[in-house]
Subunit: 258 residues, 2 copies
Amino acid sequence: MGVGQRGNIVQSLDRALSILEELSRHDSGLGVTDISSVLGLHKSTVYRLLHTLMIRGYVEKIVSTEKYRLGLKIIELGQKRLESTEIRSEARHYLVKLMEETNETVHLCVLDNREVVYIDKVESSNTVRMYSRIGRRAPLYCTGVGKAILAFWPEEEIKKYVKEKGLSRKTDNTITELNQLLKHLEEVRQKGYAVDNEEHDPGIRCVAAPVQDYTGNVVASISVSGPTTRIAEDQVKLLAAKVKKCALNISKQLGYNP
Amino acid sequence: MGVGQRGNIVQSLDRALSILEELSRHDSGLGVTDISSVLGLHKSTVYRLLHTLMIRGYVEKIVSTEKYRLGLKIIELGQKRLESTEIRSEARHYLVKLMEETNETVHLCVLDNREVVYIDKVESSNTVRMYSRIGRRAPLYCTGVGKAILAFWPEEEIKKYVKEKGLSRKTDNTITELNQLLKHLEEVRQKGYAVDNEEHDPGIRCVAAPVQDYTGNVVASISVSGPTTRIAEDQVKLLAAKVKKCALNISKQLGYNP
DNA sequence: CTTTATAGTTTCATAATACGAAACACAGTT
DNA sequence: AACTGTGTTTCGTATTATGAAACTATAAAG
């Protein structure tokens, strides 16, 4: 492979990871030919990679349909990684308390590759289903947890992010203009919390605050989320105070010294 | 690669999966040379595979130590696989009820590669920490959830399992003789439930029952577990009745028709 | 019942890739 | 200043992974 080409990527590993990700998008499984078509790989190549993944337990065949799907080994590694996430165990106690105080769903997110990844979630007994799921990712520009992190980036990095990732509209409320976003993030910085006013999902409001580590860097964020029918705009300030306090407690737990 | 050699395994993929698994055993991360030593691979090979895994998000570097660890992408795939496990969503409601009735921790396991894998867990408010974790595996011969499945295998398959996997002692109570195990499994079959009397962990008792799918095959098991100080031997029968009932409800949910 | 189409699986020649040896860069230790 | 160990890069080539072709199995169509 040309060195300048793919920056020293191991091709067969790269292909196998693409297979795993494609399988992760299809709960009911895929066949060899399906994967071959989607990924533009020869079916004998797909077969051979699947076979290796199967032997190692990362892929399995659904008995009834003979389609391939992710194997249980992936759960094992995923759970191990999740449980070894230090901030998750440090924060858990505070997240549970915040959920009890507010009776709304609480999230903990970390930054990864210019997206937030949900790594903990304490669900309230209220029954409206939240879209968020542990392990999933979400954009920075249109979620509370994302803006709570993005607000503390240097302006040049925010601009670079917007240039490379774009600001695609998710709802009628999504901010899609750079200057409007910058102004908004200035407010987030000043107030110390971010609000997602149905910018990512219609009908869902989220109040979020940044979490800092012992160096003072913003490395995570937490939020309280619920339907706009339960989290009215005039309640945001009260809620924000609670979220900020919780975030500060977690930050201190991580060694942050304000 | 000789066909007879490795049964059509893609070597570089196989190696990369070994790297991922080794990283999963070390919360605080590993260096290139560490991995090279443990896996017997050349350090430039390890470096190249790690680099590809990093680019794809499956491995990341810990900023403070510059060691490598599993990346957050692995959580994403693991959670997606977990959430698409049909039996898990079908069973959840019943597991929660069983926990409320017993106020002990409840597990759901599925069979995979002659081990059980924990795929759900409903923890009671009691504070004794259970060893079990979602995603983790456990042997069949010395856990309640395992024996609840093993009991319904043909005797020849049980013998093959014992021959190939062995019956290594975990506690003073572990059954380590084939004939004793066979006799015990006969009882499990007759009673319809299995008990782990500190066979896997000292001080922990577990009462488990098999879950059948629409074909009648035993595909999973559920259990109630707790310390022997709370689950006395004379309570096992009462508990077993509740566990069996719950398992039957889940089986019916899966289309089992007794 | 026969034929056709499609998906999955296997084989094999070879081009391309991944490998490992060697070298280099850097940081920590002596 | 010299040495040691780890991480990273380069390069020649042996080995591997690839894809084309063929085979097998199953389902669908005529």
